[in-house]
Symmetry: C2
Subunit: 413 residues, 2 copies
Amino acid sequence: MSTTVSPLAPKSYPDMPEIDGVQFATAEAGVKYKDRTDVLLVTVREGTAVAGVFTKSKCSSAPVDWCKDRLPDGRARALLVNSGNANAFTGKKGQAAVELSADIVAGALECPSAEIFLASTGVIGEPLPAENFSSVIQELKDKQDGANWLDAAKAIMTTDTFPKVATGTVELDGETITINGIAKGAGMIAPDMATMLSFIFTDAPIAPDVLQDLLSSQTGGSFNAVTVDSDTSTSDTVLLFATGAAEKKGISSVTSSEDPRVSVLRAALGDVMLDLAQQIVRDGEGARKFVEVRVDGAESDQSAKTIALSIANSPLVKTAVAGEDANWGRVVMAVGKAGEPADRDRLAIWFGDIRVAVEGERDPDYSEEAASAVMKEEDIVIRVDLGLGRGSATVWTCDLTKEYVAINGDYRS
Amino acid sequence: MSTTVSPLAPKSYPDMPEIDGVQFATAEAGVKYKDRTDVLLVTVREGTAVAGVFTKSKCSSAPVDWCKDRLPDGRARALLVNSGNANAFTGKKGQAAVELSADIVAGALECPSAEIFLASTGVIGEPLPAENFSSVIQELKDKQDGANWLDAAKAIMTTDTFPKVATGTVELDGETITINGIAKGAGMIAPDMATMLSFIFTDAPIAPDVLQDLLSSQTGGSFNAVTVDSDTSTSDTVLLFATGAAEKKGISSVTSSEDPRVSVLRAALGDVMLDLAQQIVRDGEGARKFVEVRVDGAESDQSAKTIALSIANSPLVKTAVAGEDANWGRVVMAVGKAGEPADRDRLAIWFGDIRVAVEGERDPDYSEEAASAVMKEEDIVIRVDLGLGRGSATVWTCDLTKEYVAINGDYRS
């Protein structure tokens, strides 16, 4: 947790309404940090449905493996998250630590440990002192409350400089349901999510398989469309909980993906997820610029996304943005290296509204001054039209600054 | 060209012998830089064989396209290289510029323009003022000489902080033949070669197809095994010229890849290429550490190389090296994100001789002090054993420092 807040941080936080069936509390378990909250316990109403998406890393963390194993049942009673230690690459000790963590929570809540979900974020390779949770579990249980979502978001921060929350509402059957999310992440952020944790809650009554479908369908355009440094974490976890408490208002349960209400839910959930994902980029380690990379005219959407990520992950593009340099030659380079179909002589590139290149060469009408003015903005759009087909994709990233190097050069020590 | 030489630069340069059939000269054509040489003309003996490997970028530069088109004939008379402008993404103007460049040289040397090879390095997207070469071509022709290879290497530098040369000899038929190479490159260096140019010359008599086989076979383990920043240039070019002048000493021409002398040539050429490739990493923009990444125990050599490059390209691994932090958790992360077969619980990791992780967790005998001592060295070896099979690969990279960001944040302006 840095003392300097990212200049790209949101200027204000939304009012986060309570969600029926969701309560939580934070505590100081002393996992790594001193004098700050580092553990979050969320309890959810009995019968809550849960869905999840996780890192694709071949070296996933112990809590990721734990959650994946629990997910098929689709039911949750609680979520325990700690910061300061990722419990990743910790071997048998890591497995023992997740079991102990779940037992501690299940014992206090008097529920099966299989309904406890877990997430950890922080240093890789250090044994997690899960026994620390014993000494705070009673406090966490006693303080359960549904109000202060910012506190919840703060407890899961690592190198984040600001807590990340988002909220949305949807009308279902004439009644309002709410979707709240929190997230953490600042570095090791790449598609497939990096050290990115997000927990989203709704009071809508949604069956587990529909919930999973909803979550999976919205991940590609949100959490899997942001990149800070191309590094994919061992711990990435997004969990979506539906308490179903809104059934009390007369909303019937959504039990099929064919239900017309699903598309409404999908849109609202997608908005909350994109908001959180973009906040992660805005808190990218050392970030001073927020960059949207849009690729049109590709042979397919997938091809467009590969090219967009090649641009967004290029250290040379990112350092040029940091230097406020409209260096579109590096965008050409990044298109070229992506390995996807591209025809140099059909390529056009824009910074903001300024077309800097067209038909394979510098735009004859291009004004360096105008392009430089775009680069001085805090939010920058880089757009590429490949001129080949109808595939398109948008991803978001930040610049690569000296501060990124400073933050990551001595994170562990 | 920086005023501060990389701390990883070689402490001395080898004596570069002359090569029979190779002469060259440099001049100041004012392409971009002032008061420094920026153009190199190498002339080679009539009948010289040539081979080449090039960037795989889909947006390759005009001179790359030119060379590829000329290569099937396998014969060269001259090579013109300029720094300061890559003549890449310059559309029809770029094509006109290569044609004009070749015509200028061919006119002066009274040879077909199809035997002129071209390479350009520098800014992308700016039209190359090829007409500048007219005013220096006579000087370049008059000054042709075979002695000062360092001068040749200096004329092709961009952000390089030192010129790169290497030399080797081989006994063929009881006589000595020589292989000399020069190279440039410091950023935009990734496998498939980035803004990397290298020109290698030998007096050995070798037929074009054998020459191409020799060159291609040695590229994977040298120029395609180094990475500075994962960015692949539009301009990467390696050309190998064999003048055949050693035939005068009684060495018969190597006309078949089955010739037993090929393996001797292969080894010597490989040494020169690896030497040059490693010098490029040692001149990586902002580099303070030279890192060898070795992966053993993979399912195949190709899988090992993918994992090795995932480690070598990870910004988090590279910043940890810059910070002298033995952060092996990031190595685990990089193995995990590579997408190749890996079993977390069989993984072992070494920094230098210190095994820091074994069987999926921290080595119980691992001393942080000993690992930290390794990280303070200038040359660092990171070794990973996947414990799955017999595939292995070695790649070389450098650390990621604030200076990299500084150099690339305002390169163009």
